[in-house]
């Protein structure tokens, strides 16, 4: 066994233990530890990615060297390693982008708590990505929920408490359903390890036994994870949670946490049930329909919003709709498109949150559109970054959103029944995206009328004043352009990774 094979496990453990470690450190040091941990894990994930790409096949890591079915397994393929790397990168940039807000919005005594939560969140995300055991996945889903809840409520005001409790309630509903689904699956197959379950499910599917329980289990798990990742119409918790928490939290929550669940769902589809069986079931049609509705309704809600943060949050609902729509297409290429959109949305949404915070900074902390007039001039970098993010969301060529749109529609064209609804929904949703994102872009480049709130509150912010945010924004922009301009290797990687899932 190569030493590199230990890295996935080590990265989980590292982040897990850096959590408790942070609790005895001061805020400043906790931050340093956290940054270091993320960087180290990123590097390790990169090594793993290199290794897996080199060998060309996935590897299984036995926890405590117990082989299945007794031991717990970690299973690492190209896609997992890449996801881990990507999540680390996004997390690092999101943390960087929200440095100043964290200092001002979080009580000094609770600074280090924040980093505990972030570390735990990273740990649970990594576990969700790597684990090959359904029950482990459940446990880490709960850990993920708790730490995410902590991230929301760390900025202590009424709004965040309410958002946190709503988030908790919805998440618990989701995880309850997930757990029940896992129990069903266990009772039918008698296994908890994904690969073993899949063998059994294949046998059952071939024999036709336990058809309904399997379907129910699949349905419960899908719905559970859909609730947790805020698929329309289970999105009611989302705008508050993203809209009022501190910037890094919003960025991380929107771009990573929900994506972790989606990734788990894809793993369940591929690894646990088997993609053909999933496609034969009706579940994907349901996901498809909700996905399409989400694409439209999320945007409609966003259009009505007058608060820039909440608007971005509602846009997440729409984007998650895209992802589920891709899954619902029920083809390999559809899933590739979805995974690509996971990446693209993660990169773009965190960029938007960070940029929006830059804009509000330049407008005296106000988040309403009328106060944001001219913010694009007061904080130039944030303005540019917001524009880039918006264009990507609208799906302009050159930016990442275009590629995922391209992939989605190219895949949809091959379908018989789902083609037209998909294409039309894509077009309509593009228009709606344009309506609210571009309206915002135009607003921030509209000079504030003299002697109004926006004019008096606003102050110019130079790039050097917020180094963390500036660096983060620049990196985000580069990342976005990279995804948009040289997507081919990444798509290739996703395809390879999905191959390895079989």
């Amino acid at each position: 066994m190569d030493f590199v094979q230990n890295f996935p496990f080590m990265s989980i453990i590292l982040s897990l233990f850096s959590g408790p470690l942070s609790s005895i450190l001061s805020g400043k040091w906790a931050k340093r530890v956290n940054t270091a941990v993320i960087v180290i894990i990123g590097i390790m994930s990169a090594c793993v990615l290199g290794y897996v790409t080199g060998t060309g096949e996935e590897f299984i890591y036995y926890m405590g060297h117990f082989p299945a079915p007794w031991g717990n397994e970690i299973r690492v393929g190209e896609l997992e390693a890449f996801m881990a790397l990507f999540f680390c990168a996004i997390m690092l940039l999101s943390m960087l982008g929200g440095t100043k807000e964290r200092l001002t919005q979080i009580e000094d005594s609770k600074q280090n708590l924040y980093y505990i939560m972030v570390n735990l969140l990273l740990c649970s995300l990594l576990a969700l990505i790597y684990t090959n055991d359904l029950f482990t996945a459940y446990v880490f889903v709960e850990i993920n929920t708790i730490s995410a809840c902590g991230l929301i409520m760390i900025r202590q005001n009424g709004r965040t408490f309410e958002a946190a409790i709503r988030y908790m309630i919805m998440s618990l509903l989701g995880s309850g359903l997930l757990l029940l689904g896992i129990c069903f699956l266990y009772s039918v197959t008698g296994h908890l390890l994904m690969s073993n379950i899949q063998q059994q499910v294949q046998l059952l599917a071939a024999s036709g036994e336990y058809h309904i329980p399997l379907l129910v289990a699949l349905g419960l798990m899908s719905v559970g994870l859909a609730i947790k990742s805020a698929l329309y119409p289970f999105h009611s918790w989302l705008p508050d949670a993203y809209g009022y928490s501190t910037v890094s939290s919003a960025a991380i929550l929107s771009s990573l946490v929900s994506k972790g669940y989606i990734f788990l769902l894809i793993k369940i589809f591929y690894r646990v049930i088997g993609f053909e069986i999933v496609c034969d079931s009706k579940v994907i049609h349901v996901l498809y329909v909700f996905g399409i509705m989400g694409m439209i309704m999320g945007s409609v809600n966003a259009i009505q919003e007058n608060n820039i943060r909440r608007m971005i949050a509602f846009s997440s609902v729409a984007q998650i709709g895209y992802i589920y729509m891709g899954l619902g297409l029920g083809t390999e290429a559809g899933v590739v498109a979805s995974v690509y959109h996971v990446l693209s949305h993660a990169a773009t949404k965190s960029l938007l949150f960070v940029a929006a915070s830059g804009l509000t900074d330049a407008s005296g902390g106000k988040v309403r559109f009328e106060d944001l007039q001219g913010a694009g001039y007061r904080h130039r970098l944030a303005g540019i970054a917001f524009t880039v993010g918006s264009l990507s969301m609208v799906g302009l060529p050159m930016f990442s959103g275009f590629i995922s749109k391209l992939l989605f529609s190219q895949e949809a064209v091959g379908h018989n029944h789902k083609m037209l609804p998909t294409l039309i929904a894509l077009a309509v949703s593009t228009v709606l995206n344009a309506v609210y994102f571009m309206k915002t872009v135009i607003t921030i480049y509209m000079p504030a009328p003299k002697d109004t709130e926006a004019d008096r509150q606003g102050r110019n912010i130079a790039m050097a004043e917020q180094p963390g945010k500036s660096v983060a924004l620049i990196c985000f922009i580069i990342l976005n352009l990279m995804l948009g301009l040289s997507s081919e290797p990444i798509i290739h990687l996703i395809q390879n990774g999905l191959e390895m899932f079989y």
């Binding site: 264009l391 609208v394 799906g395 302009l396 060529p397 050159m398 590629i403 749109k405 391209l406 992939l407 529609s409 190219q410 949809a412 064209v413 091959g414 083609m419 037209l420 294409l423 039309i424 894509l426 077009a427 309509v428 593009t430 228009v431 344009a434 309506v435 571009m438 309206k439 135009i442 480049y445 509209m446 000079p447 301009l485 040289s486 997507s487 081919e488 798509i491």
Partner: protein, 456 residues
């Protein structure tokens, strides 16, 4: 700064003309999006016409804008985007495949946005918003068409006669026609086809060089150009001719022709009137496109070329008036013909050309369009010919009333009230004169151009 920009534009135009004189046979791939989707350039007949047109107009328009922009602010950002637009227009003209075209098509919408909001007034903001919504919405539907071409075509490149693979289509012809209609409408949003035309008059709040060059020529023509590419080079006319899809788009186009001109008639704001006129005239081009015959394409292309000169010239005249006097409405122009003789003589010639007086270029393209329509033996096309005639009459009414008003203000008009009005300086006059000369040249000697287009 002005000299630098002008030199850059001139050099670029020189390069373009050099390139068009010795067109390289091979294609140039800049980079790849995914798999076989790449940004690739190639020069063919249609593209070279469009590129040549842009290369000719831009330096002249820049010359005009140097003077014009003196009374607007933020010259630098204006020229920045103005020059970028030049490049993007060339990109569309020389695009080798549908993806490249779409790429630049979207870029164009974005880059021209700051130009519309240039004045940053509330009106400009609202105009730019509606502009953007229309553009992106159109592009979203055009996108669907593009995807279909990519999936059902043998290649994504533009090949005369279409690239659709009959084997892949099978029994999905009707679906494909539906997609064609969506895609055509999508691209035609940029051409301000009815019912997507209201953005164009609103966009008239932009500085005149923008309205003139972009919203009468470059941007809107790219819409027509894209529609041509899609119709003739991607979907292929074989598939479309005689189907309900052709009838639908042709009906829309014919409605637009009459609608645009009628709205122009009602409008009293000069620039908006010209913008509505553009709406009508652009649909002439589209009419040529939807005839789906090579003759129709040639007619459409001819009108695209000629209309550019006519409309840019008329807008520049209107801009000269606004620049010199700040007057915006038709009824304020009484007697201006004698105070700004150079501008108004040019305007008169342009008005005649737009109306379709023989001997000027507007007649040639109109003739070719009508000829193609009659040759297509499609009853709806006959209605189109009638619409062209009606629109010509309406054009005469809304253009010539301005001319008559300017030269014959009525006997009781007091010339003293406009005694301080005079022609602008040579920077603004030179482009006008060049355009007028071009109009005469094409009008009297159109043979080579038409032959070139028909040989396409």
């Amino acid at each position: 700064m002005c000299v630098f920009i002008e030199i850059c534009a001139l050099v670029n135009s020189m390069l373009v003309f050099l390139l068009l004189r010795n067109p390289p046979a091979e294609t140039l791939t800049v980079f790849r999006f995914t798999g076989n989707l790449s940004v690739t350039f190639r020069i063919d007949g249609m593209g070279s016409l469009f590129a040549g047109m842009a290369a000719f107009l831009w330096p002249l328009a820049l010359l005009y804008s140097f003077e014009y922009m003196k009374h607007e602010q933020n010259e630098k950002s204006f020229f920045l985007f103005y020059v970028i637009t030049y490049g993007i227009t060339l990109g569309i003209a020389l695009a080798e495949n549908i993806l490249t075209m779409y790429f630049f098509f979207e870029m164009l919408s974005m880059v021209t946005l700051p130009l519309i909001m240039h004045s940053r007034t509330r009106e400009a903001i609202l105009a730019s918003r509606s502009y953007l919504y229309y553009m992106l919405g159109g592009a979203a539907f055009a996108f669907i068409g593009m995807i279909f071409i990519l999936t059902y075509g043998t290649t994504s490149s533009f090949v005369m006669g279409g690239v659709l693979d009959p084997g892949k289509i099978g029994d999905k012809t009707n679906l494909l026609l539906f997609i064609y209609v969506l895609c055509f409408c999508g691209f035609s949003v940029k051409t301000a086809m009815f019912p997507f035309s209201s953005w164009l008059p609103k966009a008239g709040v932009a500085p005149t060089p923008v309205t003139a060059l972009l919203h009468a020529v470059a941007v809107v023509n790219t819409g027509a150009f894209a529609a041509m590419r899609v119709t003739y080079f991607s979907f292929g006319t074989e598939l479309l001719r005689g189907t309900w899809a052709q009838n639908v788009v042709m009906t829309l186009v014919i409605i637009t022709i009459v609608y645009g001109c009628s709205r122009a008639l009602k409008e009293t704001h000069i620039k908006r009137r010209l913008a509505w006129s553009t709406v009508g005239n652009l649909s002439y081009i589209l009419f040529g496109v939807v005839l789906m015959t090579p003759l129709g394409l040639a007619g459409g292309m001819a009108h695209m070329l000629f209309h550019s000169f006519m409309k840019i010239c008329s807008f520049f005249c209107a801009g000269a008036v606004i620049y010199q006097t700040g007057r915006n409405y038709v009824h304020e122009l009484n007697g201006f013909g004698w105070k700004m003789p150079k501008v108004f003589v040019c305007f008169t010639v342009t008005a005649f050309a737009l109306t379709g007086v023989p001997g000027l270029c507007g007649f040639v393209s109109k003739w070719n369009l009508c000829k193609a329509a009659v040759a297509s033996e499609n009853p709806l096309a006959y209605a189109g010919v009638a619409a062209l005639m009606i629109s010509a009459l309406l054009t005469a009414i809304y253009m010539l009333t301005i001319v008559v008003r300017a030269f014959f203000p009525g006997r009781d008009f007091d010339c003293e009230t406009i005694s301080d009005v005079r022609d602008p300086n040579w920077l603004m006059i030179l482009p006008l004169v060049v355009f007028v000369i071009v109009m005469f040249c094409f009008g009297l000697h159109s043979g080579p151009v038409i032959r070139f287009l028909q040989g396409n």
